[in-house]
Symmetry: C2
Subunit: 153 residues, 2 copies
Amino acid sequence: MPATTLELTIGALSERTGVTVSALRFYEAEGLIASTRTAGGQRRFHREMLRRVSFIRVAQTVGLSLEEVRTALASLPEGRTPDEKDWATLSASWRPRLDQQIAMMERLRDRLERCIGCGCLSLKVCAMFNPEDVAALRGPGARFVIDEPAKRS
Amino acid sequence: MPATTLELTIGALSERTGVTVSALRFYEAEGLIASTRTAGGQRRFHREMLRRVSFIRVAQTVGLSLEEVRTALASLPEGRTPDEKDWATLSASWRPRLDQQIAMMERLRDRLERCIGCGCLSLKVCAMFNPEDVAALRGPGARFVIDEPAKRS
DNA sequence: CCTTGACCTCAAGTGAACTTGAGCATTTAC
DNA sequence: GTAAATGCTCAAGTTCACTTGAGGTCAAGG
């Protein structure tokens, strides 16, 4: 068997993760993933990077910036290849964030529901005129980040 | 009573909506809101713009780009000031989007739950290794846009 | 009147997350 | 052994949604 089953070219990693080649190179430049090089200078990725890349994408979906992903990945064990438990622990840290996001979207939905039902759209009741929640859902730059209230001029 | 109860300065609009002055000017330049001018060239906003601005912010939270907001606003009646029904109809169009987003987040959460519980993190079952859903949740540029599958290199 | 805070324009800058292009090297399949 | 596919680097470009800065004007209170 060729080494390709153990080490992936950047193209193979791209295909298996659905992340573009250029994005993978960008992630490497940012220190989010790592590779070894062939004699000719081409990248070869350990299969473990499949997990890291998938982690990055899911984390982004949950609303983390790459900076935050970097921090999260830094909590993985240094010496050894992270095992399933390590990854599970890391993923578990998303739960609260995910729960909060779902709750906010549901509140927004229900508010709109009420507004549509009663035709109120009043400044006091309607989600449209209650910026606090809305602000909570949209950080500057990172949509769906929930900790940072919107700045004002 | 001074005219200020009917027409808002940009500062007043900013305060009431929680949107920065510079963002409001930007929105006007983009044709999302409109103003009249005083003799001296300062903007004065009709109170109706409170609604438009609020609409814009909520729409963004729901995942619309400003381009999409522009399109949505274009569906408002031309001749007259939009009434509550007009706004309600517009907002109602978010429902499916909101529902889909909530459903996706819940699926993601439940998948992670299973993964953490069973320690699987397998390539077949785990959300982390199932890029389809994840891709669906993140459009390029517009996070949480759900119609466009991720491009590949 | 006059000062002070709010407002004006216009161009340029920001940051996140990538993508694109030019020009060149390596690998693999025939 | 060679051609096509894939890979490489590095700088610059892109999009979105704004923000910042410079240099100047307007309006409301005292």
